[in-house]
Every structure is written in C-alpha cells, then in structure tokens.
C-alpha cells in the first residue's frame, strides 16, 4: 500500500460525524428490546443457586397451556456451546459449577407469570466442595472442574539464562500484583430474539460476533450453521462483553423458539446480567525483574495466573495476550515466563477491552515504577534506558520493522505534563494534613488483530459491490456498536474510490448476506477489515481499467457499466509472509503490528480520608493513522475513563461464589463528575499494510491506565501498592497495617 499523501486525502483523517449518531440521538435506533413480533413469547432462565453441586432432580410446577419449560433433555444436539472447547453446556445437566449457571428455561406470553413459575421450580442438589479462587484452584485438593489439574491453558518459555542473570545482577525488584473483576456495564443488557425461519432459526440481538453465534449453537441445535441466520440489532458499546456470551443466550432463545414454534425474546435485567455474564479475569502475577549497574534490564521472571471461572470460554486467548504483554515495552535477553488460566466455581470470565493485557501491564509497569523509586532515578528515565525501538526484537523475538511509536508517545506525555519536575517535587512533600499531589507514568502496547495464528484461522473475507445507481456497498460481518466502525470503513471506501461518503453503504451484519470478515474484537476491524475493503476498492478500479491512483472512479464506472449492472470484488485476509508465529515454542511474530501508548495520570490525595481525585490525564497513542480523529479521541477518552474506574473504584468481589455488587447501585463506574480533564494526543507512524497506514485503537486507551494511576498515588504517599482497584479502603489498610514508610 502506498504511503498516503496527507494533503490529497478527502475523507480519511477528517473528523466526520458518526453516521449512526442521528438515529441514536433521536431515539429512532431499534435495539433488541424495541423489537416485537406477532405472537412473540418471553423467555426466562432458571439458574443455579449453588456454587458447585450435582443436580439430583428438576421439578417444574404444573405449567399453564401457554407456557413451555425446557431442560438439557430438550436439547436436540450436543449439550455445549462451541468455542475453543466444548466444556460450557447450553444448560447444566448433571452438575452446576457457578451461582447463576442456567439450568432450565421457560417461555410464555407474560413475563410476570414466568417469574412466578420460575420461583416454583424445584431443583434438588447435592453439594460438591467448591473451588473459590485461583489460589485454591492451584492447590488442587478438591475435585478438578476442568481436566486433571484445573488449568484451562498454560504457556511457558525460557529465553536466555534467567537464573544466571538474576544471580549476577546487582538489583532485583519483586512483587506480587493482583487485579480484580471488572463488569462491562455495557450500554444495554444482553438481549436476543429468535424465531423459526425457513427450515431453521433466525436470531436477532445485541452482539459483536454474528458468526460466533452461528458456529457456537449449531452443535446443540443440531442444525447446519447456514440454517441459523444471525443478525445484529442496534448494539451499544459492548467492550467485549458481547463477544462470547451472546452465543449462550442465543442458544437459549433459539431452543425455546424451535420448541414453541414462536418468536421468543429474552432480555436480562441489569441484576441478572451482572450476576451471570462474563467479566474481566481477576489475576495474580508474581514478578521479578533485574537490573545491571547501568540500570538496564537484565532478566524477567513472571508467573501470571488468570481466574477463568467455571468454563473455558475465551480464557486461552486472553491468557496469550497476558503472556505476550507481560514483558512490557522493554528489551530482554533473559526471560522465564509462566502463564496459566485456571478454573474456579465462579461466573466464567471472558473478553473485555484489553483482553488480558491490562493485568499484565499493571504488573510490569508497577515493577518499573517501584524500580525507579528504589534506584533513585525517575520513572521516565528508567523507561528510556530500556525501551524497545525500531529494529529491536520483542521478548518473543519479533523484529520491529516499522511503526514503533512508543518513544514518541512517552516523550509526548512527559513533555506535555512536565513529568520529571513534578515527580521530584511531589517526592519532597511531607505534609501530614491537607492534600498531597502525585504523578504517575506508564508505557505500553497493544497487538493489533488476533494473537498468533488467529487471523490465519479466521481468514477474514470482505466483499464490496459497486452499482452506478447506488454507489459502493460494503459487505462485512463487523458490527457498529458505538465505536464508529460504520463511519470509518465508509471513509476508507469513499477515499479509495474518490466518491462521496453518501454514496457508500454498509450492509447491516446478517450471516445470510455478508461474508465472514471475523468478529468485531481485538482492535482488528479498521486495520484488518478496513485493509480488505481498501484492497477490494483497488480491485474494482482494476476491473474497469483504472490505475490505483486514478481519481474519477464514478465517471469511468458510469461509462463502462449499465445503470443496473454491478461489479464486485472479494478479498481474503492473508497474514503477511514475513509474520511467522510458533505457538508451541511461543516464539516469533505474535501480531502483524502493534499500537503504542503512554499515559500520565495526575492526582491529589486527601490525607484525611485517602480519597483520590484525578486532576488530569494525558494520553498519547501511536496508532498509524487516525482515519477519523474525533472518533479516535472518543476512544482515548472513554478507554481512559474506563481504565480509571478499573484502577480506582470498580470493586466487584465474590464471597462463596456470590458476587457482592450485582446492581448499578453497588457496582459503581465513574460518572461525568468523576471525569478529569483528559488530553488525548494522537501520534501517527504509518503501518505499510494498514489502510492509509492505520493500526488499531479500540483497546489500547484502557491498557496502561491502572499503573499510571497507582504510580501517581504512590508518588503522593511514598508507599508501594500492589493491587487494584486501589480504593481508599485499601490505602487505609496498607498505611495502617504496615508502618514502615519508604519516604
């Protein structure tokens, strides 16, 4: 792809308003809960009240004629939702493994009656000792939930000679870091509508990945995938929460629709949704890093454990990202890495913006913050000494050939905030009353697209059609969910063909009408699918005999095509030949390319109460090319704020398998009044294979916020912290149980 000449671009790089905005602002957009059909029934789920138990019997009350109840026995095919493994049942049959696990379903015309009937369903259980948390899972003194050892997946590798490097390095920094659950609190709760369709079933709902649903529920429904037609309804910001879970819910409504022969809709209320849908994986990371006399990193030893909950879902790929992010943005000669995702009797954890990277970056960046303190150097300088630069190799040996903007990002936030000066000034504070200020820094990356062989396996396909009367029609399976996909990809198409934006269209994702361009996850849509669309557009030009750079596409097409004639082009994503990943040895090119970021968080800590106020957040992200800068700023602001919530206040804990904060009264996310001034800085180092140089931006704004935040609190208080969310309660506990003050 030729390097785009900035001045010649008409649509790309322009802050064009989102094409879906007006419908949403005016309330015209139809979310799944707005849809009804004649004769439609409601569905309701009967869930486990036990953390881990054998199901002895399930007894329905006498059901009215218009109510249908189903259990696992009614599943026509195999009782699992297909993803990487087959361990997640569509409905629990012999055992339940978490509180909230679905056991039976009801469908009927009146929701209130369904709820009353659901209360009367009698389930007899026999308790099994449950595994509460990741530590217990590793101990292995209770019957395993998964396989022989409770480990869903593990990765491990040794590079160089870490043992020797640790033994001979003058400085070793170690710590054990913990991160908690996070709830997506997506815009609308999970919801799905299904009805018998042709000789199969059609599903409409809130989702990120229509083809995952089709593939996921074909085995239990015992239908060929093509007979399951899946269509996305308008979906709000989902943050990963609608990557894998919707397959389970879609399976439930489809089962009820096929059983009753009628449309069935199921919408969770917020309480049910928080109780039983996926969360961000809690983690524990034991971390050691060593430095030589020149403060260069010499060795890394890291042991990451993620709590995957009761079923494997996406844990193995989340774990891969954790493992790949664990070394951070630094050069290493010696590494000893172990990463495991383990089973517990808790709600399954799954995809969430950042996908395993935030946990890993919290650990490595906190290590760097702590190391800077102990080495008496500022955190910026320490990072500069060790930073990956163009031409360097990553931990897995991937040579970074182009588009490596981490140093630029780091310099940008540090200069903008006067970081070094403030850092040393704040270190001198010794007041015991009033407020203290703090400033914290983190640097990070996010691999764009699927990890490792993922893109090779999915083989994303995009098709475009051009009709002189209509313009460009883009057919892809990717979804708009408030992130701006529909706007950005139309910008790419309009630019490539030099046609007005209004003459570009995207078909609403429906598995019967679009090819499988892959799920809308992994910061891949703009870079991978946008790239395919760009290529398809060049193919169209070629078909009518135009050069790639030629401008007057519409004019030439009007001459060469009849008004009702159309041309089309299809492209399949191919991993570039020089991108080689060895999954077994964990060596090679883990991602085609990376986006890079750095963030500075500034805080004030009130000594009276340990309440922390974020006064300013400065975030620089190097993303290749901002196809639509205002949408990029939106991603940076939203991701940063979500990251602050994760770091500081989003507290979700489980007690004996029961989540304690299951309403939005108790599970709090930041409001606009908790939002600091956020200054986004967009940096562009074009990626030669991205459309107009673009990489990904959907997740990276979240990834490094937590360590920058905690680093700022540490700078203010002169104490090290190891756990998020870092609530005032935890600050209090730490300061009042450990008396040693390091300042």
């Amino acid at each position: 792809m030729q390097k785009a000449n900035k001045t010649s671009l008409q649509y790309v790089g322009k802050p064009i308003a989102r094409v879906d905005a007006l419908d949403k602002i005016c309330g015209r957009a139809r979310y799944v809960d707005d849809l009804t059909m004649p004769g439609m029934l409601y569905g309701y789920t009967i869930r486990s009240t036990r953390q881990r138990a054998k199901i002895i019997s399930i007894q329905f009350p006498a059901l009215p004629a218009d109510v249908v109840g189903v259990t696992a026995k009614d599943i026509p095919g195999k009782n699992y939702v297909a993803l990487f493994n087959t361990d997640q049942p569509l409905l629990a049959e012999q055992v339940v493994n978490y509180i909230g696990e679905p056991i039976a379903l009801l469908a009927g015309p009146d929701m209130e009656i369904l709820k009353e009937l659901a209360n009367q369903v009698q389930i007899e259980y026999q308790e099994i000792p449950s595994i509460d948390n990741l530590e217990e899972s590793l101990v292995g003194n209770k019957p395993p939930i998964f396989g022989q050892d409770n480990v869903f997946k593990s990765y491990a590798y040794i590079k160089g000679n870490p043992a020797q490097a640790f033994a001979t390095s003058p400085t070793v920094i170690s710590g054990t870091y913990r991160t908690g659950y996070q709830e997506h609190a997506y815009l609308e709760t999970q919801g799905m509508l299904a009805f018998p369709y042709q000789s199969g079933v059609k599903i409409i709902g809130s989702m990120q990945c229509p083809f995952y649903i089709q593939k996921g529920i074909a085995p239990p429904l015992n239908l060929p995938p093509e007979m399951i037609v899946v269509e996305q309804a308008v979906t709000g910001g989902a943050f990963g929460g609608k990557e894998d879970f919707p397959s389970l819910l879609a399976g439930h409504v489809a089962l009820l629709a096929l059983k009753t022969g009628k449309p069935v809709k199921m919408i969770y209320d917020r309480h049910e949704d928080i109780l039983c849908t996926t969360k961000r994986h809690p983690s524990r990371t034991i971390h050691r890093i060593a430095f030589d006399q020149q403060k260069r990193l010499t060795a890394l030893a890291v042991d990451i454990v993620l709590d995957g909950g009761a079923h494997s879902t996406l844990s193995q790929v989340v774990l891969a990202r954790s493992a790949l992010s664990a070394p951070g943005v630094y050069r290493w000669a010696n590494i000893n890495l172990q990463a495991r995702a383990v089973a517990t009797n808790q709600v399954p954890t799954g995809a969430f913006r950042g996908f395993g990277a935030p946990q890993a970056f919290f650990a490595i960046e906190q290590q760097m913050n702590h190391a800077a303190y102990r080495l008496g150097i500022d955190p910026y300088q320490l990072r500069k000494i060790n930073l990956l630069r163009e031409g360097d190799a990553t931990a897995t040996g991937q040579v970074l050939k182009e588009s490596v903007g981490v140093e630029k990002a780091l310099d940008a936030v540090v200069n903008k905030t006067d970081f070094v000066q403030k850092y040393w000034n704040y270190r001198q504070q010794n007041s015991q009353t009033g407020k203290r200020k703090g400033i914290g820094l983190a640097a990070f990356f996010h691999g764009c697209g699927f990890t490792g062989k993922g893109e090779e396996l999915i083989k994303a396909t995009a098709t475009v059609d051009y009709l002189p009367s209509v313009g460009l029609v883009i057919r892809i399976a990717n979804v708009e969910m408030g992130q701006g996909m529909a706007t950005v990809l139309r910008q790419v198409g309009a630019e490539a063909l030099c046609i007005p934006l209004e003459r570009t269209h995207i078909l609403g994702p429906n598995t019967a009408e679009v090819p499988n361009s892959g799920p809308t996850v992994a910061s891949r849509t703009t870079m991978i699918v946008g790239g395919l669309i760009y290529q398809c557009c060049l193919d169209l030009k070629q078909q009518i005999g135009m050069a790639a750079e030629a401008a007057n596409f519409a004019g030439v097409a009007a001459q060469k095509l009849n008004p009702d004639e159309h041309i089309s082009a299809t492209r399949h994503y191919r991993v570039p030949p020089d991108v080689v990943w060895d999954e077994e040895r964990f060596v090679g090119d883990a991602y085609p390319v990376y986006s890079w970021g750095a963030v500075v968080v500034e805080v004030e800590v009130e000594l009276l109460t340990y309440e922390v106020t974020v006064t300013k957040l400065t975030a620089a992200h190097e993303i290749g090319k901002a196809i639509n800068p205002i949408l990029v700023e939106g991603q940076i602001e939203g991701g940063s704020l979500q990251g602050l919530g994760y770091a500081s206040l989003e507290n979700l804990v489980s007690h004996q398998g029961q989540l304690q904060q299951v309403t939005l009264t108790d599970y709090l996310i930041p409001t606009i009044l908790d939002t600091p001034e956020i200054e986004p800085i967009i940096l562009e180092e074009p990626y030669s294979l991205g459309p107009y140089g673009a990489k990904g931006v959907g997740e990276i704004p979240f990834v490094g916020i937590a360590p920058a935040y905690v680093g700022a609190v540490e700078n203010a208080l002169g104490t090290e912290f190891f756990e998020i969310p870092l609530t005032p309660e935890k600050i209090y506990r730490q300061l009042h149980t450990h008396t040693e003050d390091r300042s």
Partner: protein, 272 residues
C-alpha cells in the same frame, strides 16, 4: 409493566389522602417513588395499593420564620435547593451531594426520612439540628423528635393511617459546621460515611451526627458531653467506640471507623 397492576389512588388534598390511608391498611404512600419503586420490585413486597402524595399542596411548605425552619414532607430536593438553600447550609450541602439531578427532581424529604436508611443523607444535619417531625392522621397531629421517630433500618414510628407532613427545627445562632459525605464516586453514590458537626459558640457545645455507621443515624451524645473537658483524644476515642460500622458491599468497618475519627478530628480542629 408490573407496577400497573397495583391499584393507584390520587387524592387531591391532604384530608382525602388521610382518609385513604386509614381505609387501605396495606397501602403505601408514594411521594417521589425513588425508594419505593425500587423496593416494590421485590416479589415478597405485599403492598396492595399506592396512594400518590407527590405534589399534595399541604406538603409543600418551605419557610423560615425567625430561627425556625419548616419544610413540608413533599418538598423535593431540587425545590429546596432553589428556595431554601440558605436556610441551613449543612443540610444544603447534604442535599447537593445526594443522588443526581434527575433523582433530586423527584425525591422528597418525607421519603428520605420515612424510608429510614442508615445512609439517608438528609438525616445527619437534621439529627444535629434536633429536628422534630410532625405526623398527621384523621385523628389529629403529633410531634416526635426525629431521633425517636427513626427506629432502625427501614423502620420508623409512623403508624397506620399517618402521614409525615412537616419537619421543623431551630437554626442555632452563629454556629460553625462541618459536613462531609464520603461516597465511592462524586454523584449517585450512597454514603459510606456521612458526618455533620455543629459548634454552638453561645453555649460552647457541639453536636455530632454520623450516617451509615449503625442501624440508624447516630448522635455521639457521650462524646459531645466530653467537649467541655477539652480532651480531644478521649472525645475521639468515645466516637470510635460508639459507632458500629459493618463490612458490606460498599466499604469496610475499619475504614468507616477511621473516617468517623478523622472527620470528627477535622471538625474539632476547625472550631478550635
């Protein structure tokens, strides 16, 4: 929707409302509904009818005569902020930090008091002011001290057939106050701890009220009595002994106890 199935009465004045109250024993009074509608979703709730008292003219008093403030139970927080913000600044601060603009547009003082949550934010300033509530039924009126009216979480001395019509208190002369609400975030957060301290320079006494650290909002009467002795440490010890915070989904008992001490200490520093 589920609430449409509950019979709904809309009296146009207080006497109609009092009559309905008497006739319909399993009914609930609906003011702003910001507590009630949440609670009614619980399938075990046995409310058989709703009597709407939102906007009843007799419950809209908002006045200050000399040092006496009278607030109708039906006054919404938004209206109070518009028309009564200068009556009693500690209460104004509490109301400003309560919930969000949309909730404040509906929620009333009467609902906040009768709902009797230990975390109800209007209560610490009203406890510190020694407020009195005025209750009315078809049989007449009675006055009860606020601290006697509230019996425990979600329990008050309101009797069947009674409506809380007014809250009344005397604003002391030249007082100094310190009010703090500690919540998880800056809006729409229930209190982990709330505190109101008043210093009355005329008689050199203090009043200390704490929210969310016991079954009801608490006045630290024993600690208040120690104030004249001038021993700050023993006063603070008295406070931390008295409060009964718990570990729950919002905070921890030890942090809450710490906050009670810290906020009291800050108040004492400010008045010394």
């Amino acid at each position: 929707m589920w609430y449409e199935k509950i019979p709904f009465y809309a009296p146009s004045n207080l006497s109609e409302a009092l009559a309905l109250c008497q006739e319909l024993p399993d009914s609930a009074l609906l003011a702003g509904g910001t507590d009630l509608l949440v609670q009614l979703r619980d399938p075990n709730d046995k409310v058989k009818a709703l009597i709407n008292i939102a906007g009843l003219p007799e419950l809209q008093t908002i006045e200050r005569l000399g040092n006496t403030v009278r607030l109708g139970a039906g006054v919404t927080f938004s209206r109070f902020l518009q028309q009564g913000a200068d009556f009693f600044p500690p209460l104004t601060e509490a109301v400003r930090q309560l919930a969000s603009p949309s909730i404040r547009n509906k929620a009333t003082f009467g609902g906040n008091i009768v709902n009797a949550s230990p975390a109800a934010d209007t209560l610490p300033p009203l406890y510190a002011a020694d407020a009195v509530v005025i209750l009315q039924s078809i049989h007449g009126k009675r006055r009860v001290g606020l601290a006697d009216f509230i019996l425990g979480p979600k329990r008050s001395a309101l009797q069947t057939g009674e409506i809380l019509i007014q809250i009344e208190w005397h604003v002391p002369e030249n007082y100094i106050y310190y009010y703090r609400k500690i919540g998880t975030r800056r809006a729409l957060a229930l209190s982990k701890v709330s505190f109101c301290g008043l210093y009355l320079p005329e008689d050199k006494t203090i009043r200390l009220a704490y929210g969310a650290v016991g079954p009801t909002v608490m006045r630290a009467l024993a600690a208040e009595a120690r104030f004249s002795k001038g021993d700050k440490e023993s006063l603070l010890a008295e406070v931390t002994e008295m409060v009964q915070p718990i570990n729950d989904q919002r905070s921890t008992a030890d942090y809450r106890r710490f906050l009670c001490r810290q906020l009291t200490s800050e108040f004492l520093t400010r008045i010394s």
